[in-house]
Symmetry: D2
Subunit: 330 residues, 4 copies
């Protein structure tokens, strides 16, 4: 652990990329080597973002230094980074991809969901789905990790545990996300005056995280996302039926024992319990076979940049909590 | 319409009561005659609430002037005002009760739900359930109107329409409310620092609005309320199955044609569309028999004080929109 | 008062224009005749803004119907509407202009401040500065009213009263405004994620409302605006020295006695006291000759659309509070 | 650095104390040994605060283990902890006191300001004022550090630099703070519904941080605090006159060169630049001799718990940035 891990970030202008930047800048065992952004090309990080007093200059995604990194985080829109990922993999660099490109086992599900042609389907089988607590062993040995979607993480962590314990059916995930989930944008729909004191649903029956959840759960799921007037955080209210509710409850309570970042609690979780941390906290209630899970994460941390860094920690055999907050601020 | 209606408000210190006060203070055909509050007894309204420049003094609920009013709005906690309601009814005063006391047809459902004994079950059959667009004819002739619950209003307005058109089953209402729904209180759990940038569910399987919805819908319903970090507004995401989805959709689109306060729209409603207005706006989406309704109201207006004043307008044969805003501010 | 006043609004897509639209739509003695917006041309108001259920279609600023209106509100950026104002005046229409074009007595101050050439300096002497409580008599007879700036209104109402009573010097206005003051825009700097939980100053020594204040006060003033993470409202903290503090305090307390919209209170005003109302509420504290005034308004109402409608009420000899809320919601 | 520093926290239920707890829980070179709270006595930290997954139990301020700590943070209301501080000092424990008790050089100023009698005036000369960047050398050797007030820190860091460079006079600090500055409380005035979308001034001419600023600056200062509807952060707008503006500007720009936590920037600082970090960022503008400084901190970090931990780092000769964030999250 004497030499720090050299990190590259592609797409560091977006919220997820910028959060990776922040986490690595304060990480005890890693250091920023290259950061790229088309929008900020040539600017110092600190000039573009006075909140991030980092003197590196934003480079280009073609920067050859990326191939000298130990690990590169790619945070580009779907398909935009898929070829670069291939080049980095070919050059022997480990890659943690925050896009959806390599998340699906079934490439055609990906293509149908995102309405695109996968630029590098050949790499897909290489990729490990980076849901840390579930796939830790494979992540450990992976060269390419596909970081899960934010909503998806909040749903899968509890529900995969239940699905292993008993038959779960009729899942409805009613999820509510902070605005940062939509990314950095100059769009009146995301202006302060439009969203403050407001709340809305979107993507009914059509959100792209539903197929990702469905593939991992092995069953279809009805998913409705909503937009909360807060910056960060997701709360998912998950309705379902359990063949054996006792087995399900037991699985919820024990599946993540000892995990620093995933915790079952008896009281009802609130987003503030996990804001600015890498935790997922959840609880469950049952009335006969009908169950409800409340699950919370910080969409930019456990839902994106935090889980990405957790994946890095696993891939490089670092203490898994390195550089990742567990205690939430007031 | 030459002489203004004399209005009394009992419990004008609470949020719902204070909103009735505000609406009546600016109502073209009504005027404040008596306002009472134990907490503010003897203070001028404007001294207690500089936001309400009204020179009336808060009196006591035993004030004999209440019986000289044309109409009294009672906004006390359940059972606390039930006997007073009886006295006012006996004195020939019209009463619009914002508590849950007279909302249930079945008194024992009320008693079980609220864990109380009804002080005046004899009056219950007198009461008309004040869901204006649904029960207008009975409200017109009523002496006692039971104003519906806020969450309940957001769910019943769309779902009653569908239930009349086809068989609806498996209803789940996932509702999100602004903080004013919890009432005025000095409670750290409702402090700014606890709720700002936060979001949580509460009352899973146990909230008291579920039996009220169930009675009116004639079927059980799974209801989960949540607390939004905004002051006003409710959005309910309602999942269900429709035997005949086309009939349901048609009912949604046509049931409230011509109604000034209830509107079906094709796009997805947002809370901001109805904040500070007396409207309910909703939309529906279907995938085969599975339907989702998004319904929004302002919890203090159409969900409480606004609907109460709408009931008054109906009871006194005034233009129904008098004193009730329809256009939402930015 | 039997026939409603026919109202046109030019630039109804902006926040101020849309608020005029909302106020007129619910005004007892006025009705919308024409609304224009280049951005929304051809759309129904309700389609562009589901929060405003108005079936009018947005027209063009060249619409000849504008000249048939009794009054037109022009809410365009500076200079953009100045010629149209001239045409309307020539056609005998009364005009209430919400831009800065006609606010200055001294045209060259206007031109220097806004860095433009005034398109119709000939009209300037016609215009009455529409600070209602101060210039009511002239407004009454005016054909062209220049509606004051939002920050300016919050400062002038208290300070003009003091300046009449004693010598006031060294004025510093440290003002804080809600985000709607910046107007409707698709700009990342005004995105929810940028402004939520944030606060900043801007325009140090250079904001264009300073010369407007200075002209009306007859003395220079140091003005610093700030951006609050709220939608509506301005609070100005005004520091100054009074030659005769007793005279100043007395002026504050008595200058607006009887005015429905301007009130001195003994306790410290909060923005929530006036949000969604047309009021200005202020208070003062002194330590020897050093004084501090706290003054609050709703920037879109008393600071823009509300004062504009108040001006209309005055110009058409209507009850001055018609259609303008006084009681603030919770 | 092999053995971690043993830390005690007295009053860990308050916001400042709880933030110290959080920082120490994630500090690389320190560990929690004892935490006390009268309100939470006997509860596990994680039970009282699910956001803080720490298994320690809240003890009593009389816990003898406190005297075995290497350092104790005392975060009690003024005078309540002053005697305990004395006992700990006598026992050889280093103490960082977050109250105002030991902040003043002049005990009688303290007593007049807080309306109390100092319980241990004898200790006062021992105490070092813990404004880290200014008093680092004395802090290094101190056994008792008095942690500065939050507002005070935001004003002193820039203004002390200017005062050393030239004569500064007529200082007015118009400061705006997030709600956490008021502490944890069950008080309707601090309820979400009272503060959301609201803003107000308080303590005109009378706030207790003014004498603290005045003592350190060596001149009187006019200070007006305001309450922002955000959880964390202070922005101070500071007006003054500089005899030599060039010298003042130069001092601003160079006084903190090389400091990781205090930075002059050319653009105008925003609270979001420093939220959740231990930084103070400021900028200045001049018009002849008249100057304005905009200074921002996180009131709970650089304004309280963060600066307290920075003081600990200095007192124990640790890298000064240990456990203290510099990069602000989105």
């Amino acid at each position: 652990m004497n030499k720090k891990i050299k990190v590259g970030i592609v797409g560091a202008n977006g919220y997820a990329g910028a959060e990776v930047l922040r986490l690595i800048a304060e990480h005890p065992f890693a250091e920023l080597s290259v950061v790229t952004s088309r929008a900020q090309l040539g600017k110092k990080v600190v000039s573009a973002f006075p909140a991030l007093p980092c003197d590196l200059e934003f480079g280009d995604a073609s920067d050859p230094l990326l191939k000298k990194c130990d690990v590169v985080f790619t945070a580009l829109p779907q398909t935009a980074g898929a070829s670069l990922v291939g080049e980095l993999i070919d050059a022997g660099v480990k890659v943690i991809d925050l896009s959806a490109d390599y998340r699906f086992e079934n490439v055609s599900t990906y293509e149908r969901t995102y309405g695109v042609t996968h630029p590098r389907p050949d790499l897909n089988s290489l990729a490990v789905y980076g849901l840390c607590e579930v796939n830790r062993k494979q992540i450990c040995r992976a060269q390419l990790v596909a970081n899960p979607g934010c909503y998806v993480t909040s749903v899968l962590l509890p529900m995969l545990a239940a699905c292993k314990a008993t038959k779960i059916s009729g899942i409805i995930a009613d999820s509510k996300s902070g605005v940062s989930g939509a990314g950095r944008k100059a769009d009146e729909a995301y202006s302060f005056c439009n969203l403050d004191e407001n709340f809305k649903a979107y993507g009914l029956f059509t959100h792209r995280h539903a197929p990702e959840m469905a593939e991992k759960l092995g069953q279809s799921i009805l998913f409705t996302p909503h937009l909360l007037p807060i910056k960060r955080g997701i709360l998912s209210t998950i309705y379902f039926e359990a063949d054996d509710p006792t087995a399900a409850l037991n699985a919820f309570k024990t599946a993540y024992t000892g995990e620093p970042f995933v915790t079952y609690i008896d009281t009802l979780p609130e987003i503030a319990y996990v804001s600015h941390t890498n935790r997922c906290v959840f609880s469950a209630r049952f009335e006969e076979k009908r169950g409800i899970v409340i699950s919370v994460i910080d969409n930019l941390l456990k839902g994106a940049a935090g889980q990405a860094v957790q994946n890095m920690n696993i891939m490089f055999n670092l203490p898994e909590t390195s550089g990742l907050p567990i205690h939430a601020p007031i």
